[in-house]
């Protein structure tokens, strides 16, 4: 384990990239991409099974073979009841108290229903879950989620699957500054490795992404690119980046410059 470990609910991780497992061209490419990303955490879901098909068993065997921790989600849930029931079902089948809590409030943006999110988070933490809430950049909602027992927050960068990057950097900076000790993970909306690097440079603890890797022409190459970007961004943050300024400042020494003190022809 490196010195700069990320600790989520007491679990120390070397990688600061959490990988989704959906939308890959094939199970083999999914496995190769997760390995190339260096991720130690993969998100998974629960869906309706048909008796004869048993697709779930095959997928679950593939994920177990990767040796990563799983973070089940409640994707698609639109009510507190749906999300809580899905979380309880996920805990039994995946054998983990971790849950990526999504309560979706709006179809076009897949924006979290933050009222339902706080209520569901409160119910689940009382029931022993370790909740990773998919939320917005709203400070007050963040406070309420922490009050509900969440120890990690996952604000969106942009709407799920949009690939737009960090839509509201001002508010994300404010959130980071307001909760310096809370693990904050940018979840959703990242499209390019530069977006991930920007989030990490801002001081976010990790990023969670799926579509940007899975939908790339070469998902394995893109997984590696994101891994490098996350590492670069983290190292940059720890190295205290310079502050931008409005006016130029020469980088080459001014002292000793030739042709000074001589009248120009």
């Amino acid at each position: 384990m490196t010195k700069d470990a990320l600790t989520l609910y007491g679990v120390a991780l070397s990688s600061r990239l959490l990988a989704g497992t959906a939308q890959y061209p094939s199970p083999a490419i999914l496995a190769d991409a997760v390995r190339a990303s260096g991720s130690e955490v993969a998100t998974v879901s629960l869906r309706r099974e048909s008796g004869a098909a048993r697709a779930g068993e095959t997928f679950w065997a593939l994920i177990r073979g990767l040796g990563v921790k799983v973070l089940p989600n409640t994707a698609g849930c639109r009510t507190v009841k749906e999300a809580v029931t899905t979380a309880q079902m996920a805990r039994e089948i995946f054998g983990t108290p971790w849950i990526k809590l999504e309560v979706i409030g709006e179809d076009d943006t897949l924006q979290p229903d933050v009222f339902g999110l706080v209520e569901a988070a409160s119910i689940l933490t009382r029931d022993g879950f370790q909740v990773f809430p998919y939320t917005t950049e709203d400070l007050v909602v963040a406070e309420k989620l922490l009050g509900a027992g969440c120890e990690v927050l996952m604000p969106w960068g942009a709407p799920i699957g949009s690939g737009r990057g960090l839509n509201n950097p001002y508010a994300l900076r404010a959130l980071r500054a307001h909760f310096p000790e809370i693990p904050l993970i940018i979840d959703a909306g990242l499209g390019a490795p530069s977006h991930a690097a920007a989030a990490m440079e801002m001081g976010y603890d990790a990023v969670l992404l799926n579509t940007a890797i899975a939908r790339a022409g070469d998902p394995v190459g893109m997984a590696r690119a994101f891994s490098l970007a996350v590492e670069a961004g983290r190292l940059a943050f720890l190295s205290d980046p310079m502050q931008p300024r409005d006016m130029a400042a020469p980088s080459t020494p001014v002292m000793g410059r030739a042709f000074t003190g001589v009248a120009r022809a």
Partner: protein, 65 residues
């Protein structure tokens, strides 16, 4: 008895959730179950009775973001 299983209307003969999984050829350890939107633990399926109009969800692991 007509119930809904994963959103589809089905005529079934099972009296309990455990029996339903067998009737529909599910592997009991590979799925999680809910009855009328309430989670039913694996250990509770045998004593969970079914009645006309019930809605059963039978879920298993899938890809997720």
């Amino acid at each position: 008895m007509l119930i809904h299983v994963n959103g589809k209307a089905l005529e079934v003969s099972s009296a309990t959730l455990a029996a339903l999984l067998q009737e529909l050829d599910f592997e009991e350890n590979s799925v999680a179950t809910a009855l009328n939107q309430t989670f039913v633990r694996k250990t509770e399926r045998a004593e969970t009775g079914l009645k006309e109009g019930d809605a059963v969800e039978i879920l298993s692991p899938r890809q997720g973001g």
